[in-house]
């Protein structure tokens, strides 16, 4: 059942991606909210899948590769729809939906796997740590995608490519403005998640092994990069193409922290560790 629903969700994101891309490139774009609607339906289906898997495994479904990526996709979708509703431009659905589809497709092959957190960590604080982490990832991911849109529009303006894409993408200042807001909020949430993580480790008494965990190191690097970015924006008042490039670098770091580190090293955060019986 969860395979069917997850495939359905992927289908919805595929339709959203198509509508989003057509919205940017087609002479007669689809109706304004179609991409967002399909993303919303896809996210709902993923939520149902996660709930079913959580009930079946009697644990919060975030520890396997599929579960982690599904939660990530849902988090980004929710934050995007909230910002779109609040007035941010909807025209970058052509970038967001394909990205989320790709993320989901990376997770689908691992749908059979299950993991769970180590027993000493299984408490409410862990839930909050995970929630803040995903929320932070979502905001920072959206900031990275806005930055990508900024670079595309900057290129259009610089090289006088004044076609449909130029016409449909938002103004540079709009993208810069939302980049700044999303980075600020995402950074705060990520910081909160990290602090809670430190608290959890202290309480579980496993300081040494966690300090040498590759994911912790990657997270620290990501945090530092975004801290520099926030400082450059807030204190120095920097804007423009440079900030967009740094934000995209931040997204790269974030993706490495979230997914990449598990492919190159063993991590205590790992969702590659399959529990017996699953």
């Amino acid at each position: 059942m969860d395979v069917l629903l997850a495939t359905g969700a992927a289908g919805c994101y595929a339709l959203a991606a198509l509508c989003g891309i057509l919205g940017l490139t087609a002479a007669r774009p689809p109706a304004g909210r179609m991409a967002a609607t399909w993303m919303g339906i896809g996210a709902l289906l993923l939520c149902v899948v996660l709930v079913l898997r959580g009930v079946a495994a009697s644990c919060v479904p975030v520890f396997s590769r599929f579960d982690a990526l599904a939660c990530y996709v849902v988090a980004v979708t929710v934050v995007y729809l909230a910002t779109a509703t609040a007035g941010a431009s909807r025209r970058i659905e052509g970038l967001i939906a394909p990205y989320l589809l790709l993320a989901l497709l990376c997770g689908l092959p691992a749908i059979e796997g299950r993991t769970n957190a180590q027993p000493p960590l299984q408490n409410g604080w862990l839930g909050l740590h995970i929630l803040l982490a995903y929320a932070g990832y979502a905001f920072l991911t959206l900031a990275g995608l806005m930055a990508a849109a900024y670079l595309v529009q900057d290129d259009n303006l610089k090289h006088k490519r004044l076609g449909l894409l130029w016409e449909r993408l938002p103004a540079l200042e709009t993208l810069d403005h939302w980049m700044g807001r999303l980075v600020g909020k995402g950074f705060l949430l990520l910081t909160g998640s990290i602090l809670l993580g430190i608290l959890l480790v202290r309480r579980s008494g496993g300081d040494e092994q966690w300090l040498t965990d590759p994911k912790v190191g990657a997270t620290a690097a990501t945090w530092i990069l975004f801290a520099v970015l926030v400082h450059m924006r807030a204190s120095i008042g920097r804007h423009g193409r440079m900030m967009a490039l740094v934000t995209i670098a931040g997204l790269g770091c974030l993706l490495f922290t979230f997914v990449g580190v598990h492919l190159v090293a063993d991590s205590l955060h790992g969702f590659v560790r399959i529990l017996p019986g699953y």
Binding site: K160, A171, L172, E173, T174, H239, G240, M242, M243
Partner: protein, 456 residues
């Protein structure tokens, strides 16, 4: 609906004539009130813009009263003057009038095809006419179709895509760089006419902070005063460059006025805030190397003209498709009013039958032989009389419906009205609101014969 238009536009009259017929909203409101008083049975909508003044009329023979109606539109004119202006006015009737309204609202009849302002102007005119009680349901359906047609033309064709003047393109580029022009500083270097037009467009879009730099401080101050800005000495250009978000340059200098190095220094101070440079001068005022600096977007006059020409060509290609939509909607309107006309005629036939029945019965029921009959018998006689009348009218009703289907409505309706002695301008259900007398309209476009029937 007996629709007609009396108007003057940029194709038929030079500016000095159009100026005399150009009415601001107050004047237009006054004209509508006077028209409604003079012709209480007619409906009016008055559209007056810088390029046209048109009076849309329903329920009145416009060709016969053209100059009389023109008198309501012209400022300070006497009969002799009006006679001299006759050649500049045009009259359109019936289907042609409906088609013209749709074309005007869809911006197909505008000086710049595809300009978007005309829809708003027609909507304002329609609202004003409603507020003054100058029109009612008939015109409402007509104008609603016009607005729907305009929307279709704008969404289904490329007629409105892209701007076509250099000054409006400056705004378009600015809106692709900046979110809110109201918070931006515009610097205008030099005092060229095109640059001022571009500045005007930006100010209309909300830009408030305007700096004017000109070699002649007096000219700079005059230009600044016109647009609510401030003049700065030309020598302070480099100092103020970092403050400007949008720079429009149009000097007559034979050499570069804004160097790449000055721009680099300005961008260091701006910390990556983007700058839009628009160079309208020939030879160029701004060093082309400035366009290579990060976060600087430089456009010169050729870029703007190339984009404008491309947009104009796209609009022209879209015109044919737009006219197809206009013809389609015109057909729908004609059918709509035909159906209404058929409905109105059937109601008049019913009314006629009822009136005749009631008159005869009223006459005979009072007589001695019938007065004593029981009420049930009287009721039977009334029913019998009504059935006889309905049976007699059944064949004409069927013939009229056939005629409407076959496109012969106008002649059949006129004949039926004549043969059956119907009041052709009798009441229908499209009367004016507020308890005013029902205005007279003809059914489905059938009109009383007129001496003239002038069409464009």
């Amino acid at each position: 609906m007996n629709l007609a238009i009396l108007g003057v536009n940029f194709k038929t009259a030079p500016l000095e004539i159009r100026e005399r017929a150009s009415l601001n909203p107050q004047e237009a409101g006054g004209a509508l009130v006077r028209l409604s008083s003079a012709y209480p049975d007619a409906e009016f909508v008055l559209v007056s813009t810088c390029n046209r003044t048109e009076l849309y009329v329903a329920g009145l023979d416009v060709p016969e009263r053209a100059m009389e109606l023109a008198g309501f539109l012209l400022k300070d004119s006497d009969e002799a003057t009006r006679a001299g202006l006759e050649k500049h006015f045009y009259v359109k009737e019936g289907r042609e009038a409906a088609r013209h309204l749709l074309a005007v609202t869809a911006s197909l009849d505008s000086m710049v095809v595809g300009e978007a302002e005309i829809v708003g102007q027609v909507k304002q005119a329609f609202t004003l006419a409603a507020e003054t009680g100058a029109h009612s349901r008939g015109m409402t359906a007509l104008f609603e179709h016009a607005f729907r047609c305009a929307k279709r033309v704008h969404t289904e064709t490329d007629i409105c895509r892209g701007r076509v003047s250099v000054s409006s393109l400056a705004v378009e580029f600015a809106e692709k760089v900046f979110e809110d022009l109201g918070a931006k500083t515009i610097m205008i270097v030099g005092a060229g006419e095109t640059a001022e037009l571009a500045l005007k467009s930006l100010v209309e879009r909300g830009a408030k902070d305007v700096l004017v730099l000109n070699r002649s401080l007096e000219k700079g101050e005059a230009l600044a005063a016109r647009h609510g800005g401030r003049a700065v000495r030309f020598e302070l250009l480099d100092e103020y460059l970092c403050k400007a978000d949008i720079v429009i340059s149009s000097t007559s200098a034979p050499h570069v006025v804004i160097h790449a190095e000055s721009m680099r220094n300005a961008m260091r101070a701006r910390r990556g805030m983007p700058v839009l440079l628009i160079d309208i001068a020939v030879p160029r005022d701004i060093d082309p190397a400035a366009g290579d600096i990060k976060d600087v977007y430089l456009y010169h006059i050729d870029d703007l003209q190339r984009v404008a020409e491309g947009n104009l060509a796209r609009r022209r290609e879209a015109v044919d498709k737009a006219w197809c939509i206009v013809e389609e909607v015109t057909g729908e309107l004609v059918d709509l009013f035909k159906v209404r006309g058929v409905g109105a005629m059937m109601r008049r036939l019913d009314e006629h039958g009822r009136v005749v029945c009631d008159a005869i019965l009223g006459q005979y029921m009072g007589r001695e032989k019938l007065a004593g009959l029981p009420e049930a018998s009287k009721e039977e006689i009334r029913t019998l009389a009504q059935k006889i009348v309905n049976k007699m009218l059944a064949a004409p009703r069927k013939a009229l419906r056939e005629a409407a289907r076959n496109g012969d409505w106008d002649s059949y309706a006129a004949l039926a009205a004549q043969l059956l002695g119907l009041d052709e301008y009798g009441p229908d259900d499209e009367g004016k609101p507020d308890g005013q007398d029902n205005k007279t309209t003809t059914a489905g476009g059938a009109r009383a014969p007129t001496a003239t029937n002038r069409k464009e």
